[in-house]
Structure formats: structure tokens, C-alpha cells
């Protein structure tokens, strides 16, 4: 049984302080924003004030004449390469270096300036005169698919950027067999990832070699290398991307963005290093967000609460470009079914181009809007049917080995034990409710990295190189990204555990495309499972070489198993017979003609369905109180029970659970990006509300261990799953207390007050 494989390790599973800790608490950790190079210039982008307009002319002469300005470029000065993450279908690489013929959203860059100071660059941008001819624009996804809608991309047949159809079972038959069918409409709001470090890049072009080095606040150095290669029409190998410490990403730093592209173009043009740093309002107005969705769900159940059929239709406001939106659209259609057994299912999703800033893969991507809709609908159905909210989730819960035909399979799955734990804990924790309090639940599941290859890489999804030196120091090279989630610590732990050495024996070399083997970066909770497998593979190769030497040296019967643990290689059954790791390394390297012992490991998932090799699951409960006179909702307490496989670092997992819930609760209470004709109305931290210290409740996190056969040491997704249930659990708590139903996740007081009154009116009407 899988469960038997869970075991005690020397390092895995032990709370381990962040390997980057000392650098981060002393301020010494270097982020791209902290970097300067000798002779560096400062770049700024001139941006469109119109959501949709033809560019008639651009006059840069006044800007060029300003003392201190070293270069001004427009679309005609670029190599004309188009770029995007969906490289597999080249028509979806739809971003230009600088807009040439027309602009497609407010903030679309039309020119770039490099100057000796940032202040001069700003002045120069103001001196660029662009003549626009405003075009009719489209902002609403439903309008965008009308026949006479203005076209966002003329080279596309329509404003339909992507469509997805998913179906299994016999949906019509399923609904016919249902005792209870309901349909609900939702309109979810866009939110911004709002990483504290803004997008910024420093590019340095070497005139002698024709090679480019770019430091950038990115989630994936490899994606940026590919994006720059496409945009600049340069060979990948001539572009080196280095990822310093990153002030977080949350999905907003997967795409190549104009800061990197234009810093590079300006550096190539001037022969000097150029740095572009966005302002916070540029960040909100022009960088990627979680898209708005207009969703309709039809759900059919048996009287007892068993789900028999589900049909989902969604139309997504994609904005001006693709980003990872096409993937988000697909994942929406699958994650909305999780973690439930749905025998008959049909999904139709449409992602539209519109004249707004575009949406992409924000934390929990594919799961967050859909889960809000599905979990609040399930709660309403349970209430109508008189079924307990935990019971309805339990009876429909997926189990180990569950397969959604042709789509996904749960190998490990601890959802039922999670729900059972929740049943007992919730009664202990909140035995009695006040009159203004309610408890809401939502169950969840999320992937451990994606299987999809839209980036079109020929490389392994993750790879790692491990080298052991004469003094026992282990160099670990991999492109995997730590953007704050703690992967550097996890990488060191996995490498150390497999080799049987200490964390202090590992020296990390991560995130530099010139010196490391490829990894696709930090998104979709992929690094622990995918990079972890690659590191474990590489370390195992080194370990096996060392063990071979140890066997010879110890002269033991080879039938005995040798293990490497706690810096010794020894006979598992007779631990006193062994050799120090440090002595062994010396012998091994001498025996290897003085060449350090190395291993190159890799991982690419094969035959694991359409989405991911493994899924974390669980259930969340939220206790909230609602002020029925003001509509104010306070989230008082959160309890989450999570099946996240073998935990690698309990500190990191808890941190990620807390952080996911914080972002989920912001989505639930106050985060939104209202737009007026493509103009984001709240582009600052004054008006874009992010929960602060006093606004956060304490979170109780209970972990239900499982062993995931596809993950390193049984590990899989942890924590990212917990963003999606937060908003529906909160809305369900308010629903249980007041009867209020919501069409959007954001429970602003006025929205809540109106919903409470509508519920009261409905009740009276009955």
C-alpha cells in the first residue's frame, strides 16, 4: 500500500529555516531592482492613452534632442519578432516589442527611451508626440463575440482567442436522471497579482560577442530566454537570463513583458546596460491579472445529494493578448469538476480578445473563479435538498485511483480522510455560533505542475546537475526558480536527503540559463514534484557512484544494501560497518581520474493524463460574522485540512498555505480591478485593497499525509490549492448565516447588504 511508503527521513519533513534567510533579513539579498551596472542607462516606455487606436505617426525628435537622452525607439526600430507563451501555436504569440500599426489597450507601449537618468527618461517620454486615430473599442467579452465587434487582432478570424470543449459521460441522460437541477450565473471580478517588486529588467548587450545578458524579476528564466529569442529574433544561446532574488510573482511574472524586451532593444542600440523599472500604476494598468469570467453552471443531483451531471459554460475577458490565458481556459474546465466524482460532464469555454490589459495564470490558475461558482452552487443545492454541506462533499469526493475519463487521474488522494478530520475538528473548534455568525465549507484540489507543453520545449520539463567536489561540497545546478515560495530550501533538502549529507554541504546555483540545465520555472506548483524529481534523480546517480566505490572499499558482500545517510555510507543492516562520506568522496574522485562525481537528472511526466501527474486535495472551513445593518463581513477564523503528500519542509508549506489563503481572502473581501473603457480605476495600493495584518484571521492548518508515487519522497502539490476554496467558503459562511447569494466573489459591504435584503425579500415572497 502506498501509505506504507511514508517514512521518517533525516531532512525531508523536518522544519528547515530558509536557506536564503540571512540574506533576506539583512537586506543583502539582491533583487533586480537593486542592481546597477557601470555606465547604465535608464529606460522608460511611452504608452498609449487609448484602448484602441491607429498609430498615424510618432515624432520622437524633441525627445531625442533632450540632453541626456541616448536612444529613442519605436516599432519600426524593432526586429519585428512577436512573442508569447503559447509558442506551440505561433499565431498565439501575439505580443509586439512595441506597437507598430495600432494600440490594443490603455498602456500598450509605442516607444521606448534610454537616458542617463530616470528623470530625463521620464521627461523624454513626455516629449514624444504620437498621433492616434481612435478606433471603436470592445471591453466586454459578450460584446467581443458579436459579429460587428471591433477586431482586436485583424489577423485573427474573430475576437475568439481560444475555445475549449471538454466532455465525458452522457450529460443529457445525466440531467434526465437527476432529481434536482439548478442553473446559476456568475460574473467574477479580475484581480491583480500585485507582487511587491514591480516588473523590472536590466539588459546588457556585449557588442563584441553580440550576446545579451538580462537580469529580470521573472518566475521562469527559461520562458524569458525564449520570449526574448522570439521578440529579438536572436538565438536562444546568445541570450543569458539571470534571475536574482524575486519580490514574488503569483503568476504575473511568467510572461515576457515589455520591460525586458525594450531594455534589451535599448541596450543593443546604445551598447550600454539599460534598466527599465515599472511604476506601481504601470504595474496595475499594464501587467497581467486574473481574468474576469462570465460563467453559467447547470448542476444535476439525486435527492440524496449525489452529483449526476454538470454543464459549464464560460466566457472569459481575455484582454489584448494570450499570455497563459488559453491554458487558464482549459484548466477552468477541468478544475471546476474537482474534487468531485462527476459521471457526466460538459464544458464549453471561450476566451475573447478585448481592448483591456490581458489576463493570465494568476496563483491557483484555472481553479479560482470556477471554484467560487461551483462551491457556492453546491452549497445552495445542499440547502435545497436538506443535505449537510460536509455530507454532500463527502459523498461526491474523489478517491485514490479516481479517473475523469480522458482527463485526469488521482493516484494518491486523501480527500475523504480530510473531510472526516474536518467533521470532528469543526465541532470541537466552533461548538457554538453567535446569531451573526456562520460556517462555510469548500473542498479543493490542485495540480503538481502542468503536463502541457504550450511553450514548445524540446527539453525535459525539469533537469538538474549535481557535482560532488573533493571536500564533500555539493554543487547543485538547476534553472528552477525560487520566487519566495522557498524552493531553494526544498531543492537543497531534496539533494541533501538523497545524497545523505547535510543542507550545509549543498551549494546552490539556480536560475541562470547560461550555467544550468533547463527547468520551466515556478508556476502551477510544479517545482517540488518536477524539479524535485530531477534533483533526486541527479543526486541518486551521484550517490550510486559513491556507493559503488564504498562497496569496493568496504569489501563487503554486495548482497548487503549500502545506504548513504547522515554523512556516512554504511551497511543498512550493520550500521557500524561504513565509511565517512567525506573520506569516500576523496577516494571516489581520486579513483575517477580526479574528476568530480556528477549526475544529471531529469523529469518529464509521461502518460499522466492531460493535466498533472498528481493532485493535492482537502477541505476548508471559514467562520465569518456578518453585520446585517452595514453588510460588513469579518472573516473570524479559518480551518484547513490538506492532503499534500509527503511534506518536504513544514515551515514552507505552512507559509504557502497562509499566503494562498491571504490572497484568496482578498479575492473574497476586497480585491477587484474595476475598469472604465479599459482604464483600471484603482491602480494603487490606496485603492486596490490588500488585506493587512489586522484584517487577517489566524489559520489552523491540519495536514493529512499521503504518499504520492509520482513525487520525490512522496511529495506533491501543497498550498496553492488552498487559494480557491477561500472565497466560496467565506461566501458560504455568509449564505448559511443570512441566506445571501452572490454572483461574484468580492463581498464588499454594499454587495452583501443588497444580497441579504434580496434573500429576505425572496423568503417573504415565498
Amino acid at each position: 500500500m502506498a501509505k506504507e511508503k511514508l517514512k521518517e527521513y533525516a531532512i525531508i519533513g523536518k522544519p528547515t529555516p530558509n536557506v536564503d534567510g540571512p540574506a533576506k533579513v539583512t537586506g543583502e539579498a539582491q533583487y533586480t531592482i537593486d542592481m546597477t551596472l557601470p555606465n547604465m542607462l535608464y529606460g522608460k516606455l511611452a504608452r498609449s492613452p487609448y484602448p484602441h487606436a491607429k498609430i498615424i505617426s510618432i515624432d520622437t525628435s524633441a525627445a531625442e534632442a533632450l540632453p541626456g537622452v541616448k536612444a529613442v525607439i519605436t516599432g519600426k526600430d524593432t526586429p519585428g519578432g512577436k512573442y508569447g507563451l503559447w509558442r506551440r501555436f505561433r499565431e498565439l504569440s501575439d505580443q509586439e516589442c512595441l506597437a507598430t500599426d495600432k494600440v490594443r489597450f490603455i498602456g500598450d507601449p509605442v516607444a521606448a527611451v534610454a537616458a542617463v537618468t530616470e528623470e530625463i527618461a521620464i521627461q523624454a517620454v513626455e516629449l514624444i508626440e504620437v498621433e492616434y486615430e481612435p478606433l471603436p473599442a470592445v471591453f466586454d467579452p459578450d460584446d467581443a463575440i458579436e459579429d460587428d465587434a471591433p477586431m482586436v487582432h485583424e489577423d485573427f478570424p474573430s475576437n475568439i482567442n481560444a475555445t475549449r470543449h471538454i466532455e465525458w459521460g452522457d450529460v443529457d441522460k445525466g440531467f434526465a436522471e437527476a432529481d434536482y437541477v439548478r442553473e446559476d450565473d456568475y460574473v467574477t471580478q479580475p484581480i491583480h497579482p500585485a507582487a511587491l517588486e514591480v516588473h523590472n529588467s536590466l539588459a546588457s548587450y556585449d557588442k563584441g560577442t553580440g550576446r545579451l545578458t538580462v537580469w529580470s524579476s521573472t518566475q521562469s528564466p527559461y520562458f524569458l530566454q525564449l520570449g526574448l529569442s522570439d521578440a529579438l529574433k536572436m538565438r536562444e544561446g546568445d541570450i543569458r537570463v539571470i534571475k536574482p532574488h524575486v519580490g514574488s510573482g503569483f503568476g504575473g511574472k511568467n510572461s515576457t513583458m515589455p520591460d525586458s524586451v525594450n531594455a534589451a532593444l535599448l541596450s543593443i542600440k546604445t551598447g550600454r546596460p539599460v534598466k527599465i523599472v515599472y511604476n506601481r500604476d504601470e504595474e496595475f494598468q499594464t501587467t497581467e491579472h486574473r481574468t474576469a469570467q462570465h460563467m453559467r453552471i447547470k448542476l444535476g443531483l439525486k435527492k440524496d445529494g449525489q452529483i449526476v451531471a454538470m454543464e459549464v459554460k464560460t466566457i472569459v475577458n481575455g484582454g489584448a493578448f494570450t499570455g497563459l490565458g488559453a491554458t487558464d481556459l482549459y484548466l477552468t474546465g477541468t478544475f471546476i469538476t474537482m474534487p468531485y466524482k462527476i459521471p457526466n460532464y460538459r464544458y464549453d469555454g471561450v476566451r475573447t480578445y478585448t481592448n483591456t490589459v490581458w489576463g493570465t495564470s494568476i496563483r491557483g490558475f484555472g481553479s479560482v473563479p470556477g471554484k467560487f461558482c461551483a462551491e457556492t452552487q453546491l452549497e445552495r443545492a445542499a440547502k435545497d435538498l436538506g443535505v449537510d454541506p460536509l455530507q454532500i462533499r463527502k459523498m461526491n469526493a474523489v478517491y485514490p485511483g479516481y479517473e475523469a475519463p480522458g482527463q485526469y487521474t488521482f493516484e494518491s488522494c486523501g480527500l475523504l480522510p480530510c473531510i472526516e478530520k474536518m467533521e470532528t475538528r469543526v465541532k470541537e473548534k466552533w461548538p457554538k455560533l453567535e446569531e451573526d455568525e456562520g460556517i462555510g465549507f469548500a473542498a479543493f484540489a490542485y495540480m503538481s505542475g502542468g503536463i502541457f507543453n504550450w511553450i514548445d520545449t524540446p527539453y525535459a520539463f525539469s533537469s538538474a546537475h549535481v557535482k560532488v567536489n573533493i571536500d564533500g561540497m555539493v554543487d547543485l545546478y538547476t534553472q528552477a526558480s525560487d520566487i519566495g515560495q522557498g524552493h531553494n530550501t526544498v531543492a537543497a533538502m531534496i539533494c541533501a536527503e538523497e545524497l545523505g549529507v547535510g543542507i550545509e554541504d549543498i551549494r546552490l546555483h539556480l536560475g541562470d540559463t547560461a550555467h544550468t540545465y533547463t527547468d520551466l520555472g515556478a508556476w502551477g506548483s510544479r517545482e517540488v514534484l518536477m524539479n524535485g524529481n530531477a534533483i533526486k534523480d541527479a543526486a541518486a546517480q551521484v550517490k550510486n557512484k559513491l556507493i559503488e566505490v564504498a562497496r569496493l572499499k568496504l569489501g563487503e558482500n554486495i548482497a548487503y544494501d549500502l545506504v548513504s545517510k547522515n554523512k556516512r555510507v554504511y551497511l543498512e543492516l550493520r550500521p557500524e560497518r561504513g565509511i565517512s562520506y567525506y573520506d569516500l568522496v576523496q577516494d571516489a574522485i581520486r579513483a575517477n581520474d580526479g574528476v568530480p562525481i556528477t549526475g544529471v537528472g531529469h523529469y518529464t511526466p509521461h502518460n499522466k493524463g492531460m493535466i498533472s501527474p498528481a493532485y493535492g486535495t482537502g477541505i476548508m472551513a471559514v467562520k465569518a460574522k456578518t453585520d446585517k445593518e452595514t453588510g460588513a463581513v469579518v472573516c473570524q477564523d479559518i480551518l484547513v485540512v490538506h492532503d499534500c503528500g509527503q511534506v518536504i519542509n513544514p515551515l514552507g508549506v505552512r507559509g504557502q498555505v497562509e499566503g494562498s489563503i491571504h490572497m484568496g481572502l482578498g479575492y473574497a473581501l476586497c480585491e477587484e480591478m474595476p475598469m472604465d473603457e479599459g482604464n483600471v480605476l484603482n491602480p494603487s495600493f490606496v485603492d486596490y485593497k490588500i488585506l493587512r495584518t489586522r484584517d487577517m484571521p489566524e489559520i489552523e492548518f491540519i495536514e493529512v499525509p499521503t504518499y504520492e508515487p509520482n513525487g520525490p519522497f512522496g511529495a506533491k502539490e501543497a498550498a496553492e490549492a488552498t487559494i480557491a476554496p477561500t472565497a466560496p467558503a467565506l461566501a458560504n459562511a455568509v449564505f448559511q448565516n443570512t441566506g445571501a447569494e452572490f454572483v461574484a466573489p468580492v463581498l464588499k459591504p454594499e454587495t452583501v447588504l443588497k444580497a441579504i435584503r434580496a434573500a429576505a425579500a425572496k423568503k417573504q415572497g415565498k
Binding site: 533576506k24 537586506g27 537593486d34 517588486e197 493587512r692
Partner: protein
């Protein structure tokens, strides 16, 4: 026209000449090259750039540098004691009180000023003291625990020194 600015930064007297429009944050990052103090919001609403001026936590992005003329400024670089991390820094590391680390300098400097004033705070007092500090990663709870831990460490150190 540039004006003279005399400040003591992390114990070292500095004499600078700055334009009156220069913000304290620019002096710290650009003139003195102390990059541990970081900008994030442009609107005086995240406190990532917090430093200590004459014992008070303030937002260096929202103060004209000339206003601190003659005062003592402490940045994150001035907190560690030679090669040793300060107890607050140790507590932040041990409690996983940061993830990306971008807001951490500000959180730690605010904690320093706060614990100097209130060495034995309650959870609510810590929340009030750090409420202006936006963190997109941690949900704050592990920061609060680090501050509680730091308070204990500082008290223990004080008791040790008292006994010695």
C-alpha cells in the same frame, strides 16, 4: 539648488548635497547605495521602505531628505551586530516570517522600533504596530509569531546582560 544634508546613517556621519526634492529613500538607496531599503508602492501605502529616524519607524519614501537633517537614520544594514544577526533577524529566519523577502527590511525595522517601545507586546499590539506593512506572501501570522519570538529573545538577552 543643492543643499547640505548632515545625517548619521547606521552610526556613520554622512555629509551630502542634495536637491530639496530628494526623498530620504533616494538618499539611502541611490546616494548611499544601501539597497536593503526598498520601494514598492509610490503612494505611501506599503511601508516596505521603513527606516528608523531618531528611534521612530517612518516611511523613507514619504519624507524629504532635508527634513532629517541632523538626525540619526538606521536602515536594515545597520541592525546586525558585526557578524551576528540581530535577535529580530534570527527570529524572522527561524519562524519563516518572510517568503519573497521584499517587504522584510521594512517589517524588521518597524519591529525594532516597536519592541524598543513595547518589549512585551500582545498579538493585537503587534498587529496594530505592523498594520501598515503590506506583505503579499505571508498572511502576516508567521510574522506576528516571529515578533513574539523576537520579544522573548530580546528579553532573555536583557536578563542575561542584567545578570552578568
Amino acid at each position: 539648488m543643492k543643499k547640505q544634508l548632515n545625517i548619521v546613517v547606521n552610526g556613520e556621519p554622512r555629509e551630502l548635497y542634495v536637491e530639496p526634492k530628494t526623498l530620504l529613500l533616494q538618499v539611502i538607496r541611490e546616494h548611499l547605495g544601501l539597497k536593503g531599503t526598498r520601494p514598492a508602492c509610490d503612494s505611501s501605502s506599503c511601508a516596505a521602505c521603513t527606516v528608523i529616524v531618531d528611534g521612530m519607524a517612518v516611511k523613507s519614501c514619504s519624507i524629504l531628505a532635508l527634513q532629517v537633517n541632523g538626525k540619526e537614520v538606521t536602515t536594515i544594514e545597520g541592525l546586525a551586530e558585526e557578524s551576528q544577526l540581530h535577535p529580530i533577524q534570527k527570529a524572522f529566519v527561524d519562524n519563516w516570517a518572510f517568503q519573497c523577502g521584499y517587504c522584510t527590511s521594512g517589517q524588521i525595522m518597524a519591529t525594532k522600533a516597536f519592541l524598543d517601545e513595547n518589549p512585551d507586546p500582545t498579538r493585537v499590539q503587534i498587529q496594530e504596530a505592523l498594520d501598515g506593512h503590506l506583505c503579499r506572501c505571508t498572511a502576516y501570522n508567521m510574522i506576528i509569531e516571529a515578533v513574539q519570538d523576537a520579544a522573548k529573545r530580546l528579553q532573555a538577552r536583557k536578563a542575561e546582560k542584567g545578570a552578568a
